[in-house]
């Protein structure tokens, strides 16, 4: 299932200042991701995967290099245009869910639509409908602290997808979940987020769900050391 080029990362370098010096965490990264692909970004802590996904998602400027997202060179955009681009095209799923504790699940799911100016009632209704698709419609009026970790992550998925973004980036979405819930979340992502004109990139340590990926990019010391369409990486990563 491939719908053309979704992500194009070209010669991306990222350095962070440390004291009077700087430390390079990404070295000339080059990678293309096709639409319709569920891509895992794996590697040990400090390998640079979070930095890379942040740059791809348009929330961290690279030191040099270019990033194209569905044909738009995102770091050529002005700050405001980049924010607007994220709101329109990118969905985020965070490890700690980052739901607003004082909003109900449906209201949380509706936030990207509300931020885009959709009327609140309509936005919440669309959030509620998506939650039903994610099999948590019964919990739409509950607050996050009334939900289990898996349910909260599904609300976060609903929030990431409610505005129908073309790219969904996820940071360790299964880290806080048991194996069964983790696989269910990944299945849902594939089922609901992925389409021919969309892409999903997931940063994960969770080898229990590696078999669900279309492609696995393994990183080490700021470089992509393996690009495994054949899932050959699986055994290597599981062995670590």
């Amino acid at each position: 299932m491939s719908g053309g080029l979704a992500i194009s990362v070209r010669d991306v370098v990222k350095e962070f200042p440390v004291g009077g010096d700087s430390i390079r965490v990404l070295h000339d990264i080059k990678v293309d991701i096709q639409a319709g692909e569920l891509t895992y970004l794996v590697g040990e802590s400090g390998s640079g995967k979070t930095t890379l996904i942040s740059i791809i998602a348009g929330i961290l400027y690279p030191t040099s290099g270019r990033v194209g997202v569905f044909g738009t060179d995102i770091y050529d955009l002005s700050d405001n245009d980049l924010v607007a681009f994220r709101l329109a095209n990118i969905g985020f799923i965070f490890q700690q869910y980052n739901l607003l504790p004082t909003l109900t699940a449906a209201q949380n799911a509706a936030i990207p639509l509300i931020a885009r100016g959709v009327k609140r009632a309509e936005a919440v209704e669309r959030g509620r409908a998506l939650m039903t698709r994610l099999n948590i419609g019964d919990h739409a009026d509950k607050f996050p602290n009334q939900l289990s970790g898996g349910q909260q992550q599904r609300v976060a998925i609903a929030r990431a997808l409610v505005h129908e973004p073309r790219l969904v980036v996820c940071d360790e979405p299964t880290a806080a979940l048991d194996a069964r819930s983790g696989r269910r979340v990944m299945d849902l992502l594939r089922e609901v987020a992925l389409a021919e004109d969309r892409a999903v990139i997931i940063v994960t340590h969770d080898s229990r769900v590696f078999d669900l990926a279309d492609r696995i990019l393994a990183m080490e010391d700021g470089r992509i050391t393996h690009d495994g369409r054949d899932k050959a990486i699986l055994s290597q990563q599981e062995a670590r």
Binding site: S54, L60, R86, A88, N98
Partner: protein, 378 residues
């Protein structure tokens, strides 16, 4: 997004109540203290404002206020009457005296002697008795607040005989008046009676009360000064002199200023700390919103909406409490008689509260604006 901001704020009950309390307490403190301050200042001019029939007060040039008096010879009255434009001129004596209370103590009182025939100088409203009863021998009127000080509730006041500077005085009526700044018991009597009650000196005239006849009071006051060498002030000017005297010669403005400043500091401290805690607790959520695509401008709008809600509710509550205090609780106390809240005070308080919330939310929002959206992935 303002709706989301309001839900974020109101959902965190403890901090929301803390913020409301901070603003409400500051509002109460500032409004109440400013109101008391302003009304105390007004009492510097109340002795003048009570005499509505005269619009010019003539006095010795050394006299500064209705309470800080250098007496004049009685001949000053005729000199003032001879000035063209004077419709009438009445003598007024203000002096201190002592009365013996029921338990044998001495109480300082202010004796005001008004014109024997016209009674110009007594307050407009009577609580008990008729103005003409002041014509009776040894008659005095007592102010209502003073009567409350001297007599127990329910005790007869009118008809009571007082020992005033060792002389007999009979209370024939109670006048409705606002206490002056000194808050002494005030006894009104005829000028001729007052001369008997108050120990004698050569000069026995405190003021000449003048009504202008077809000429502006300011013009006539200047004319009186030019022709008599006496100090002549319009009622408004002389009331203002009393207020200025308090401002210049007492520590009241500094003390009340300090209290108002404390109100602002307490407000800044409570609101600032609570708002900072609220922002800090929600920094991840704000970071997530920024990552999702909520602009800094919208984030500023969200925090502003939260600040406005806190101001509206906190200021409203604080103002309601201050109004209840001034108009309700305090109204029953003679110490607060005549107190009211000029409309400028809520406006000043609102300005200060806006400054408190504006400064604290500006400081708090800096951390949100500085938050790197990428931090949500760390």
């Amino acid at each position: 997004m303002n709706w989301v901001a309001i839900r974020m704020l109101t959902g965190d009950r403890v901090k929301f109540i803390g913020l409301i309390f901070g603003v409400a307490f500051s509002t109460l403190l500032i409004t109440q203290q400013l109101t008391i301050f302003v009304n105390l200042l007004f009492r510097g001019g109340v002795a003048v404002q009570e005499v509505s029939t005269a619009n010019i007060w003539v006095m010795d040039p050394a006299t500064r206020t209705a309470d800080v008096i250098y007496p004049m010879p009685i001949t000053a009255l005729d000199r003032v009457r001879s000035v063209p434009g004077v419709a009438y001129a009445s003598p007024l004596l203000r002096s201190n005296a002592s009365i013996r209370t029921a338990d044998g103590d001495l109480e300082g009182v202010t004796v005001i002697g008004v014109d024997d025939s016209s009674l110009v100088g007594i307050p407009r409203r009577m609580v008990e008795g008729e103005p003409m009863q002041l014509m009776d021998p040894d008659a005095v009127f007592i102010d209502d607040v003073g009567a409350g000080k001297l007599f127990a509730p329910g005790d007869p006041v009118v008809g009571t005989t007082l020992e005033l500077n060792d002389q007999r005085a009979i209370i024939k009526g109670i006048v409705d008046s606002v206490p002056t700044f000194t808050a002494q018991v005030t006894l009104y009597t005829r000028y001729s009676n007052a001369l008997n009650f108050v120990p004698g000196t050569r000069n026995r005239l405190s003021f000449v009360l003048v009504r202008a006849d077809d000429v502006a009071p300011e013009v006539l006051a200047r004319r009186i000064t030019e022709r008599t060498g006496l100090k002549a002030r319009t009622s408004e000017q002389f009331a203002r002199d009393g207020i200025d005297f308090i401002i210049e010669n007492t520590g009241i403005p500094i003390n009340f200023g300090i209290t108002v400043l404390l109100g602002v500091i307490v407000g800044v401290a409570i609101v600032g700390l609570t708002l900072s805690l609220f922002i800090r607790d929600n920094i991840k959520q704000f970071g997530a919103l920024k990552a999702i695509g909520v602009t800094n401008r919208k984030i500023v709008g969200m925090v502003s909406a939260q600040a406005w809600l806190v101001v509206l509710i906190g200021f409203g509550l604080g103002l309601a409490m201050a109004t209840l205090f001034i108009g309700g609780g305090a109204a029953g106390s003679p110490d607060f008689k005549g107190f009211y809240m000029p409309y400028q005070i809520p406006l000043i308080t609102l300005g200060l509260v806006l400054a408190i919330v504006g400064i604290t939310s500006r400081i708090a929002i800096r951390s949100v604006l500085k938050t790197d959206p990428a931090s949500v992935f760390r």
